[in-house]
Assembly symmetry: C2
Homo-oligomer: 356 residues x 2
């Protein structure tokens, strides 16, 4: 049996559930190891993967006897088979944060479940701690992102549009071994940078604009996430001061992010420092990164999570002045025992592109 299933089974015991139904494709990818669709069914005796004609060949080729899975084509299963899977299970867990209300009702009917239990992200919590292979993929995604950033600092010129830059990022990723974008790139220049989630527009980069670039690559299904705010042609004293203020806080937060730290304490430290300077942090300080671009743990005001070695999280303080400008600095970070390792290694010095 693979170690992931073993760990899930241990947690099932602690939660007193004897059966588990997993349908979230990212959880399935995590458990099975390849991106396929279907349902993972764990019961007292067996680990089962039910898929269909589209994936069955691939799954059978990929899984080995050591994975300990019985694979079925759904067309070979009937009502009685589904009733049988959990016949001797008192409590059966399901993914209440993924399954829609409609599908929840179907689960009850299809499996004739005696008592269905919310599992409170049983697998998402396990996914917080990354194994060697997962870290390797995320490091690779971060590396491609760093190289792309170096490329961008030469590529970006005054007169280009935001869209041109975001297109270039996507092309760069595709040509340098990434699966593609980890999420829709943000390129926000000048007044647009005051919107934390601006969509790249036809706005032209002008002399003096701050340019916030929030982007990440996906490699073997795993994401990276980095933001840099750079400056076109020149930087004003005002922006320089704001940049250095945010950077100071970002570095301080990175230092606090280590095994044993409580997420909310780190977020509150930055929030307080912002508050004392008449700013406010209007979004979470960070979030977990893995198969999903936003996953557990969240680093925010009320997140009780204790950080653990080999969690991968972002650290992304930003300040936004509506109608004016904004600056954000973000890294992807691997939590370590004594100190964390910044996986996105691009310079956080002030960068002025296309200087005049």
């Amino acid at each position: 049996m693979n170690y992931k299933i073993r760990a899930i089974r241990e947690k099932m015991k602690l939660q007193n559930i004897q059966g588990l139904i997993i349908t979230n494709p990212l959880n399935i990818r995590y458990i099975i190891g390849i991106p396929v669709e279907g349902t993972v069914i764990i019961n007292k005796l067996e680990n089962i993967f039910v898929t269909d004609a589209r994936y069955i060949e691939e799954v059978n080729n990929f899984l080995t006897i050591n994975d300990g899975f019985i694979v079925y084509d759904s067309k070979d299963l009937n009502d009685i088979d589904y009733f049988g899977f959990f016949a001797d299970c008192e409590n059966v867990g399901f993914e209440e944060n993924y399954v829609t209300f409609h599908d929840y009702q179907n689960l009850l009917r299809k499996y004739r479940i005696k008592n269905i239990e919310e599992t409170e992200n049983i697998i998402e919590k396990q996914r917080m701690i990354k194994d060697e292979k997962e870290i390797e993929y995320i490091e690779k995604a971060c590396h491609i992102t760093d190289e792309c950033f170096t490329y961008l600092t030469n590529f970006i010129k005054i007169g280009m549009t935001e869209k041109q830059i975001s297109l270039e990022i996507e092309k760069y990723f595709l040509e340098h071994g990434a699966d593609g974008l980890a999420f829709e790139t943000i390129v926000a220049s000048g007044v647009n940078s005051s919107k934390p989630h601006a969509i790249p527009s036809d706005k032209i980069i002008r002399y003096g604009d701050p340019i916030t670039i929030d982007f990440g690559a996906k490699y073997n299904g795993y994401c990276s996430d980095m933001t840099r705010t750079i400056f076109a042609g020149t930087i004003s004293e005002e922006l320089k001061n704001l940049y250095n203020f945010i950077l100071k806080n970002q570095l301080k937060a990175t230092k606090e992010m280590k095994d044993g730290a409580i997420a909310k304490n780190i977020s509150r430290m930055v929030e307080n420092e912002f508050y004392l300077n008449n700013y406010s942090l209007i979004h979470a300080l960070g979030h977990g990164v893995g198969l999903n671009i936003h996953e557990l743990p969240y680093i925010s005001h009320n997140s009780q999570t204790m950080l653990k070695e080999n969690m991968i999280v972002t650290n992304e303080p930003g300040i936004y002045m509506p109608g004016n400008y904004g600056i954000r600095i973000e890294d992807t970070i691997r939590i370590g025992k004594l100190e964390s390792e910044v996986l996105t290694k691009s310079s956080k010095e002030i960068i002025v592109v296309d200087p005049k």
Copy 2:
């Protein structure tokens, strides 16, 4: 009030619901008109959009008085406001096919809903019929896909890998005005073509391989979907016969796809013809296309939907011989009053690339 909200309100009356909560981002994009996050709340008197600091500037800039929306920043709302929205509504609808079981429980608490009602895809059903602007975007997405296919027939050479081809498609889309891919491209050659949902691999295109390419672009959020199976270097008599058999069925199905036709009858016609020739159709014949790559209506064995003018659907029969090869031919089609219009206009003649 925009016509979409008017139509939703009429359907709410028919379903005897006085309030509606919409959180599915595609439904929000459909109603609001731009890709932003938040919650659309429709009650007896008002149309409300609750969003947050990330999007509020953009939403306020985009919506006009004619849209008839009251926009709130969620941070300005408290518990009492949420209780108030539906205080005079007996029945409040929600998206049971989007909202997770966990969020469903939160909705009940947050809005103090007296009686919550499943809405059976109230908005997804409305989205089935496309308006002029939507058709224009889908036509544009189809046009980029067609031009890309023409490009590919010259680009593809024996010795290339499947991944190389799928990368080229993505780059082509990005460079020719698309938002990007409508879905993960399938490039399946030789034995891989027997898997309907194969992921592009490092397998090299060899002389004699069929190559199934299933791809689509997204333009302004709207998708296209097309499959062509082409042949590397040569085509055997056996493959030629199979190709022509599938094409004959695809054309026949296109002819039947028009206003008033019942989806399942068209699917069953193809299934029967396959069955009589010792083949079987192992997936649906087609599906709706719009903001989502797979949406209502489905064209399958048991779909009761009556096709209507300006629905956009695919028609994609395929035959797969596990361990051997497969062929699929797919178009995106606009349903018309008397006959349908094929929006993906690429040739369906047998195409042999890189002939020797």
